[in-house]
Amino acid sequence: MATATSETGSEQEARTRTPEPPRPAAEQVHVFEPYRYALPKLGPYFRDVWSRRQFATHMASSTLKGQHFDSFFGQFWLVLNPMLLALVYFLLTSVLAGQGGGMKHFVGLLTGLFAFFYTRNIIQFASQSITGGGKMIINMSFPKMLLPLSTTFTAMLMYFPTLLVYGVFYLTVHRTFTWNILWVIPIFLIQTVFSYGLGLLFAAVTLYFRDMSTLLPYVLRIWMYISPVLFSLSYVKGKVDANLLPHWILYFYQWDPFSPIINSWNTVLVGDGSKPFSSGASYAPQMVEILAGAGCAVVALLIGAWYFMSREREFAVRL
């Protein structure tokens, strides 16, 4: 009986007790249960990503600042480095491969190279972001997607100054531009989404196969040779027609998912694909290529995000 009274007592107590002062954050309930290889709940996940977006952007700018890229010489080096590389490839393509065109050819090369370096940087930085962010991952709970996102911003911040320099080159050589140049904005977005998708994929894969980080630079370099970065599609077609190159090489150019993106980019900046690197050609990109590029970007993002997000709860254990 005694227990009964005490219980009713506690019941009354429980009822009469004023409720706890409202603590708004107490509404946040986190439940952690065994993981499966499945996507987390997308709503809360992306809300969390959104609420931490400043972290991703700030970490990107801080990384560059930490490497003194905010100073004049830092910025200068950001531009000089791809320029020197472009010079190397210019010598390679014009002297060794005999692709003529002088300064216009150089500007055409810069167009493709700068764009390709941007994609390459996104993928390479992202692939190191998870294995390199170990301390953060094992000590903090946050959507891991932010780490490749942050390195993507880093790559973007490194890309913008080179675009300015490119603009100067472009204007001195072409001395004109059409409104078609505004196409660079959607193409840039498509390219960023595409590269980020691949970055997510490689970020997760590198965790399972650590030697991927050594392998990846080679894969990316070979990829550069078989997409229309150094050699335009028409140039390669000409070589194939003249039986100087095997026929199957064309398939790479046609089926490379990056091809439509870089082709549109080249078209907008240096003219029609059929008359590469020469003025007087059409600067309007082909709609088919834009759509194909956008399609590839969405597919890359979906695959990359699915692979990354369905495994990210395991990252802390794998590190």
Binding site: E7, A26, E33, P34, S51, G66, R210, V317
Partner: protein
Amino acid sequence: MSSLSASETVASTATAKVIDKQQESRMAIKVEDLHLYYRTKAEANPTLKAALIRKAKRQKVEQKVIKAVNGVSFEVPHGTVLGVIGHNGAGKSTLLRALSGILPPTQGRVEVRGRVSTLLALGVGFNQNLTGRENIVLGGLAQGWSKDQIREKEHAIIDFADLDTLSEGAMDRPMKTYSSGMYARVAFAVGVHMDPDILLVDEALSAGDARFKEKATEKMLELCENARTIVLVSHGLETVRHMSNHCIWMDHGHLVQAGDPDETIDAYIEKQRKDREAADAKKRAAEAAEAKEDQALAEKAERTKEALHKAIGEDV
């Protein structure tokens, strides 16, 4: 009596439900039968090369399961300071990582109500090349705060870290020039100023000199008074005794005892003493056995010597 007890049970279940609901909302952390295992592979560094070679040789990776946390259940109401004690490798840090959602449970369930801030390691998200001031922003953002919120707290954090008394203008120098104590001060200051509902701390109090430690303890007590929930993992038993009002003792992934800090810590110390004594006794026994063996050998040698003497003597 029987009818009474029947109605009583009905009433009490209803009551229990009410209380349950009330308690539910007051529970900050609820852990139900938590298991967390690490699967360690024989290979320390997983590579594609190794995977391909294995595939070619049709080998399988040896897997070893380490049961870091093994069937632990407990509840922590809001406003509790929970101390977690245990030997090295008892699963304390793993438990904390499970509470913060970093490591997914292998089995069981963890429920956490409130905004969680973790101080598992100092200076997470910091960039050594940036100044202390910049790292405060970076560390705060890493904890999931907006820039405005950090700007509000920046002053308090800088005051708390109090680097100027150590070295003038240190806040605006890159953190790679800091001593480890200065680094810890900034990191700790960022961690505790984020006023979380639930703070998970792992050995972070051991940072810094005596004066800073005192300050840190004070700050933690202040946090506790504001009805914050703190889970504190520490080997500093006196710290736990001083600060916590509830304590759990873990041993090899199991929860051994939970309750009043004084009792639990005393039991833990007692166990440690016994363990040590047992170890000492074992060592003594081993030593004694060794001594005995030595003696036996010496005796044997002596006997041989005597026998030899005898033989030689007789010969001569």
